[in-house]
């Protein structure tokens, strides 16, 4: 994309987060969309672009009564919304539409009005060569690479637990976080084992919720009620739908490609970054993110977190909403990471980072299958 040409002018989550059996999944999209329109001071007729994942953009546009001139249904897992931001920026620059609404809604916990899980069935490559080994969803698949990472880097189980402990410190400052009580490393390690070496507290929550964003050309961005959040750089990539076919289980190729592209587009260096979000469906993901984005050298991320660099008061605040481990995780968490970056750059986050002006928001889709990175700033550099 052309750097600095597009801005986020509306951002909001669903009115409630957590357990919301009173709303269907489609209505969670709508609730987030309506809150975001209000945030931006816009009406439905102002929207001419719609993007979503996990629900077809046709369903969302029709339900909201929008007749778009551009839609994007890219659905590569929880980072799809990072890719939507990237694609929307290109579409706005190309003149395909002027004002894009990106929505997310997911009845991950209550399962109200939730479509069938996608999946290729028994004839897909996963169906033939992974499913017969009886993995039971992400906790038993996304976690497989970590023992190899531990062996290659010397990272310890105590360090894995520390990720959950520090993110709980951030969550404690956030009234909307699902879990706020302080944790110790021992608490995390003594919890029920889900898939060795991961205990329950090293796996994400399962909740209901949604969020939405509105994007438009940077030239228009100052006309909106809130401080614009400019898109400085973006990246995306995919590696493999099968975790067993990752090139190297100690690093994500999709993370490296997406991250490098976003940093190159933004023209910033790592020392310019004030705030970082790394999609944490499981506690090992911040290690991969910190290393594959270039914030840490290989094998140094666990020590970096243990030294409290990413904790409250540290030099690189990370997952300041509490993350998927403590804030919320509906299934496609990327939208909530983007919302927290926007709040930090507007200066309205519950755990506000002083003078945050550049935020990197990095998402994963599937299980190390896809990635999207969005670098945002609250001023045009």
């Amino acid at each position: 994309m052309k750097p600095n040409s597009v801005a986020i002018v509306g951002a909001a989550e669903t009115t409630e987060l957590g357990k919301i059996p009173s709303l269907s999944q489609l209505q969670l999209h709508a609730d987030a969309a309506l809150n975001t329109l209000k945030d931006a001071g816009l009406g439905l007729s102002d929207i001419d672009g719609v993007a979503t994942a996990g629900e077809s953009p046709t369903n969302v546009a029709h339900y909201l009564g929008i007749t778009p001139t551009w839609v994007d249904g890219t659905s590569v897992g929880g980072c799809s919304f990072m890719l939507h931001v990237r694609h929307a920026a290109a579409a706005i620059n190309e003149g395909l539409c002027e004002t894009v609404l990106i929505t997310h809604g997911e009845s991950g916990r209550s399962g109200i009005g939730r479509g069938m899980f996608r999946g290729g069935g028994g004839a897909s490559l996963q169906g033939q060569f992974e499913s017969p080994y009886c993995a039971m969803g992400p906790p038993t698949i996304f976690t497989i690479p970590f023992l190899r990472y531990m062996k290659e880097t010397g990272t310890t189980l105590e360090q894995l637990a520390t990720v959950a402990v520090i993110q709980r410190e951030w969550a404690a400052m956030n009234p909307r976080a699902s879990f706020k009580d302080p944790l110790t490393v021992e608490d995390v390690m003594n919890e029920r084992m889900i898939a060795y070496p991961f205990t329950k507290l090293e796996c994400c929550l399962v909740t209901d919720g949604g969020g939405a964003l509105i994007l438009t050309a940077a030239a228009r961005a100052k006309d909106f009620p809130h401080k614009p959040v400019y898109i400085l750089g973006t990246g995306e990539s995919v590696e493999t739908p099968m975790i067993s076919q990752m090139e190297d289980m100690t690093t994500s190729k999709a993370f490296r490609v997406s991250g490098a592209k976003a940093f190159a587009e933004a023209g910033i260096s790592h020392s310019d970054v004030d705030h970082l979000m790394i999609y944490d469906a499981f506690a090992h993901l911040p290690f991969y993110g910190l290393e594959d984005l270039g914030f840490c050298r290989k094998g140094e991320a666990a020590g970096f977190i243990e030294a409290r660099n990413t904790a409250p008061g540290g030099q690189l605040p990370l997952n300041t909403n509490g993350g998927g481990l403590s804030y919320m995780h509906s299934g496609m968490y990327g939208m909530y990471a983007l919302q927290e970056s926007v709040r930090q750059l507007r200066g309205t986050a519950p755990a506000q980072v002083d003078n945050a002006s550049i935020s990197v928001c990095h998402g994963v889709g599937g299980m190390f299958a896809a990635s999207g990175t969005v670098i945002m700033g609250n001023a045009i550099p």
């Binding site: 033939q128 060569f129 038993t140 497989i144 190899r148 029920r192 060795y196 070496p197 076919q245």
Partner: protein, 139 residues
């Protein structure tokens, strides 16, 4: 494992049929590019290294090492207790998912890089699934 009737049964496609015919006759079959010698998995009728359609099917040694794994502690109807979900590295290079069987399902018994060998179990008349068990040290 307790009950193979509870395991999702693979459905072969034209591109993977040779693999499932192989497991039924007790062979683990891989493919090798005739142009660039790349050995790859899962099956496809072209080389993912160089895009050549000139590829050959061959019988792998069945030897592997343990690359990474988890031990699932949530109950599954096909298993009596906690069980490993692993990725093994075949002697020929490619990796594949499997369960490590005929060994304690504990971190103490499942050591990364330990030598393994393939074994097969029938899930249906047509589909025999490859598993790995300790043994078969690579040369």
């Amino acid at each position: 494992m307790a009950n193979t009737a509870k395991i999702p049964v693979p459905v072969a496609t034209p591109e993977t049929l040779h693999f499932w015919e192989g497991t039924k006759s007790g062979e683990l079959r891989l493919q090798k590019c005739d142009e660039c010698s790349h050995v790859y998995f899962p099956p496809r009728p072209f080389c993912p290294g160089c895009a050549s359609r000139k590829v050959s099917i061959f019988k792998a040694s069945g030897k592997a090492t343990l690359y990474s794994y988890v031990i699932n502690h949530r109950p599954h109807p096909a298993f009596d207790g906690p069980y490993s979900i692993a990725v093994v590295e075949l002697e020929e290079g490619p990796r594949m998912m499997t369960n490590i069987i005929n060994v304690d399902q504990t971190p103490e018994a499942l050591i990364l890089d330990m030598p393994l060998e393939v074994t097969f179990k029938p899930l249906s008349d047509d589909i025999h699934l490859p598993y790995f068990q300790p043994g078969g040290a690579t040369s």
